[in-house]
């Protein structure tokens, strides 16, 4: 049953995603990509419990690696997107 429930969320999120992103103008496609890079760093929250939980040592280290990697995506992604968007000015 949980699989169906998760699938339900997946379908709705994909529909919302398509509707939202279709409206992003081509001028902003590069920031859109780097910004979505940052969002895909959401794996971080999954990595947190694996890294801090009571698992085998191997799983814990994998969790640590995932935390570090996902943080690069989150921090780097949002910062570089902000840097780009700050350059888009109207005169």
């Amino acid at each position: 049953m949980i699989a169906i429930y998760l699938l339900f969320i997946l379908i709705l999120a994909i529909v919302v995603g398509f509707e939202l992103i279709r409206k992003v103008p081509s001028t902003l496609h590069t920031p859109l990509m780097s910004g979505s890079n940052a969002i895909s760093g959401i794996t971080l929250i999954g990595a947190l419990s694996l890294s801090g939980g009571e698992h085998s040592q191997f799983a814990t280290w994998l969790g640590f690696a995932a935390v570090a990697l996902a943080t690069i995506n989150v921090v780097g992604g949002y910062l570089v997107t902000d840097r780009m968007l700050a350059m888009f000015k109207k005169r």
Partner: protein, 456 residues
């Protein structure tokens, strides 16, 4: 310890809403920065609240991971040159894939009760993560010219790839059946990594914008699959937002090149189309001095930049010339083809960096509707995206590709080093048109020369 499960999941809903509104604000350059901040806020609260999870017992490793990751993230985000954005995005895609791979792998090795569903989605996340990672590394190497750009193919590659896919499917089943056998995990990861390499190798450097868009989508799908494995709603929502974004961009890139995704992905395996069409007419060169007189009289000037402009670092001089032309009373506009840069929207970022107002950047269709009203169209470092062969020469390899109809402007100036053909290696009839003048030389020097004449 208290169970904060309800609070955590409630905050995840708030985060999802923030992500969605963040993307919504990205629909206009004026609000986009706020949107990015909103999205970052969503991520921040999600991370903070996750730390309340009762399963988290030690924080040392988490803190260490976050410190290391943040340091690398801040450093790269501050240092990176705007021309190198495609490489950075490609690397970020790869890192996202690798993170999902690690999460999925950790889930498989730490799963206490064996559940076929969780194992299946974990294997899926592992596969997508691994393919995204190795594919992105190859794309990065091709984009940064650390690797030869042309498609790399070898004899029997199709058979090899088919065998690889069969082996991956077989091993995935083995991992699901016998999750405790470590050998299967390692072989499966190795094969998936190889798959990512084999997927990008046969694709040429010119098609990398499509590949990074697609890998962008994969990095989202990997997070999404990891979300299924961890039964985490927010991972699923955020991952599918990214997945949708990547697929839309891939589609836009393919349409702009008039090719199907399958055609792009298998282009290395296809015979090269050659065209023996002879172009009539002669090349008419023009000196910057003469160009100045034409520009001085122009009421409206259209700039059509290509990646060559960024390579010549000519965008800043162009902006200077733009200001002088505007002072002289001319209306200025920039026409940007979807594949003008090396990733979707790349040219717009490069022009924004040179301080060109986003209100002067126009999409292909908008400008084509009124291109005949422009007195002068200046083509800088662009070739294939203004090649009228796409419109008038059936049989040309690019026939049918949507182009900016530069040749329909009253006068066309083409700034070009020499007569070499474009990225696609196709002759360009635009250079031979009645109303076209070629200004040979380095684009930056030519524009600088024009600026000096206007100033004196």
């Amino acid at each position: 310890m208290q169970d904060y499960n309800v609070l955590i999941n409630f905050v995840y809903v708030v985060s999802a809403v923030l992500f969605i509104f963040g993307l919504k604000l990205l629909s206009h350059p004026a609000t986009a920065r706020k949107g990015n901040l909103l999205s970052a806020l969503g991520m921040f609260v999600a991370v903070i609240v996750t730390l309340l999870d009762k399963n988290i017992l030690s924080f040392e490793l988490i803190l260490a991971g976050i410190v290391v990751g943040s340091a690398i993230g801040v450093f790269t985000a501050k240092k990176i040159e705007m021309t190198a954005m495609p490489e950075l995005v490609s690397l970020f895609n790869g890192i996202g894939g690798l993170a999902s791979l690690a999460v999925a792998y950790a889930t498989i090795v730490s799963a206490e009760q064996i559940n076929v569903f969780i194992l299946t989605v974990s294997v899926l996340a592992l596969l997508i993560g691994a393919i995204t990672f190795s594919g992105s590394v190859i794309a990065w190497a091709k984009l940064s010219e650390r690797m030869i750009g042309r498609p790399i193919v070898f004899k029997g590659q199709v058979v090899f790839n088919a065998a690889l896919i069969v082996a991956i499917v077989a091993l995935s089943v083995l991992v699901v059946i016998q999750p405790s056998v470590a050998t299967w995990h390692i072989v499966l990861i190795a094969l998936a990594l190889l798959m990512g390499v084999m997927f990008v190798l046969p694709i040429g450097g010119a098609d990398m914008p499509v590949v990074i868009s697609l890998l962008n989508s994969y990095s989202g799908l990997a997070a999404c699959a990891a979300g299924f494995a961890l039964e985490n709603n927010l991972l699923i929502v955020a991952g599918s937002l990214v997945g949708a974004s990547g697929i839309i961009l891939t589609n836009i890139m393919c349409k702009a090149m008039n090719r199907s995704l399958i055609n792009v992905l298998t282009s290395g395996f296809q015979a090269v189309i050659t065209s023996d069409v002879k172009i009539e007419g002669e090349i008419k060169p023009l000196t910057p001095e003469d160009a100045f007189y034409v520009l001085e009289a122009a009421q409206s000037v259209l700039v059509i930049p290509g990646y060559g402009m960024a390579v010549a670092q000519a965008q800043h001089v162009m902006k200077e010339l733009q200001e002088l032309l505007e002072k002289n009373g001319a209306e200025m506009a920039y026409a940007i083809h979807p594949v003008a840069g090396r990733m979707p929207g790349h040219m717009n970022v490069l022009l924004a960096e040179a301080d060109v107002s986003y209100e002067q950047l126009f999409e292909m269709d908008e400008i084509n509707a009124r291109i005949d009203t422009f007195d002068v169209a200046i083509v800088i470092g662009a070739n294939d995206v203004v090649n009228p062969a796409a419109r008038e020469l059936p049989g040309s390899p690019i026939y049918g590709m949507p182009i900016i109809n530069a040749d329909l402007a009253k006068n066309v100036f083409v700034l070009k080093r020499g007569m070499a053909a474009g990225f696609a290696g196709i002759e360009n009839p635009l250079f031979f048109k009645q109303n076209t003048r070629m200004i040979f030389g380095d684009a930056k020097e030519t524009l600088g020369n024009l600026v000096r004449q206007f100033s004196s």
